[in-house]
Subunit: 393 residues, 2 copies
Amino acid sequence: MTLKPVSFEVMASEGEARAGYLRTRRGVIETPVFMPVGTLGTVKGMRFEALESPELDARVILGNTYHLWLRPGAEIIRACGGLHRFISWERALLTDSGGFQVWSLGALRRVTEDGVEFRSHIDGQCCFLSPEVSMEVQAALGADIVMAFDECAPGDASHDAARASMELTARWAARSRHRFDVMQLEMMDAGRTPAGDGFSGAQALFGIVQGAAHIDLRRESLARTIDVGFDGYAIGGLSVGEEKSVMYGVVEEIAPLMPRERPRYLMGVGTPEDLIEAVARGVDMFDCVLPTRNGRTGQVWTSHGKVNIKNARWVADTRPLDERCGCSVCRRHSRAYLRHLYVVGEMLAGILLTHHNLAFFLDTMRGVRQAIRSGNFMQFRREFLEQTRSGDE
Amino acid sequence: MTLKPVSFEVMASEGEARAGYLRTRRGVIETPVFMPVGTLGTVKGMRFEALESPELDARVILGNTYHLWLRPGAEIIRACGGLHRFISWERALLTDSGGFQVWSLGALRRVTEDGVEFRSHIDGQCCFLSPEVSMEVQAALGADIVMAFDECAPGDASHDAARASMELTARWAARSRHRFDVMQLEMMDAGRTPAGDGFSGAQALFGIVQGAAHIDLRRESLARTIDVGFDGYAIGGLSVGEEKSVMYGVVEEIAPLMPRERPRYLMGVGTPEDLIEAVARGVDMFDCVLPTRNGRTGQVWTSHGKVNIKNARWVADTRPLDERCGCSVCRRHSRAYLRHLYVVGEMLAGILLTHHNLAFFLDTMRGVRQAIRSGNFMQFRREFLEQTRSGDE
């Protein structure tokens, strides 16, 4: 392969925390980065214009292979020119492998060496996902960053169960890499870049470290994943119900061992506090549904901690959600109005609260990057945590 | 009263159609105008920034007195500085009187000379609305245009029933006018403009013509409403289930008899075709939930007629909703993507389809105004109707 999928450069560091640039074929992503989740090809409740605005300036969003494969289907998206064109987003896209979604189906799935048989959560239809199928679907979607197909073990998996799962993940990582490489070469030979959208550069493939809460398995998983060789490395299987101390412990042990010259991605995490704590342990990339899901359920993240917009105390409160926030929602709307919208069930409640939450997450990450670059990250971290815990609404 | 509530000037006309300017204390509204409906203090699914953008440029929106009175309540809105401040909209607002909403409660209401007793559609609580209460609530809301409290008769009301209802409306019009004027004077004396928001100028009060499908009653209603004297005149009680020919017939008979120097407002109407037909009969102002409600149910208005976005034929259709439309949705998104969003139940479907529908309605009215000003309205009307009926999607 002649085209470089991504390049990554660490520009500044403080302790384990790093600030860098991840260059994809669709623009530069400053790290540490939070990636809003666009499960079905939309970051729920958000117009793309808002995501692109300087206020949010999301440089990369996620798509979910499992969901998009079921609806509208990979062939429809391919026929419409790939996921970027289908949803009309020219910035970077990362697609997960479907492994985590299939895992969360629980009893509806059956795992074999070959892959996972499962019943669709929509109509119960029998489906089969494997490393090869996942790579084929992700090639059709045309994401800039593709994730290897993995198996996720429960947070409380025994050592034996976690080992079996981790070893399967390692074998699937090699199969993912192989199928991915063959397809990239085929596309290059055919003179097409993936998804045929006129962008130069190949898709990047990231590997995933598993092993549940067992540090020895996590270490072994990392070594085997590095052996296969990927453009970036992710820690999977966290934020799945384990204690927070377990998550921090795994990240603290594993992140610093991950290749320094590659981006490190902590999947499915987390709260603003989690992001900062994981950055302090060496992580560069995050995704999580919290800002969007909480926005729709009336939970708001602010510099003084969480606010429940349903609370009757806001009924005539003309203050913004967060006086320190410069987002278009805080500049314009009061808690009283947002509470009213939420209580009467208006769509605009979810739209505005999601916007603010994303602004808060993305702005926090801007602060994190700036602090690392100027050598003030430890101070930033301490002050951020003190303030969000103050609950001084 | 020393401050002029609104002024209206007809700048051009063609047949009965008029193009003019309605000057309110919150800016100039070019007529004929379509007013998006913001029932509960939000035009459903729309951010105010979008309504203000040059693309939509809505100069006036509606609020519903009945709904806002129940939730969050007039006192909350007053405490937050009036409806404009509460929702954060600095352009003009019109509030209806609550009469129509109470009428649509059907069996839940009891009408007496004094007013209407009804049970709230939310919790069944007993409420009472009268001309005086409606004026007091609308003063608290602080709309730039206030509607008299009327009684609406069913579209198929007998002559006797329609007469009784029309006569009650006439008596309520006088009571509305009286209570309104007393309050305006009180506010002026207290050195406050209504809602205390620093705007100069009084609130305007519009009267409503009733009489169901009976032209003689409509004529009498108009005469009695003019006798009371209002800043503008509305035709109410249409678009309530009667035949379209009845609606056009009433408008054709009544609109030209309404005072030429006052704005004429056809309440709750209608489709783009209805708007153009009513403009041709002399109407200046309209409101309707169609563009917003249809947006949420997947019905799209285009220059070639209506499109049902659920239709399977759009599954991989990369064309915009309307190739002649310059709105941000048509510039960016395909039918395939919009269909996908709708089918999977994503919020963004309602957001984008509502935006396009409003753009289409507001743009149609821009075209109407331009056509009247340049003397091409009859041609515009003919071409518009031919094209929307062509169904050439």
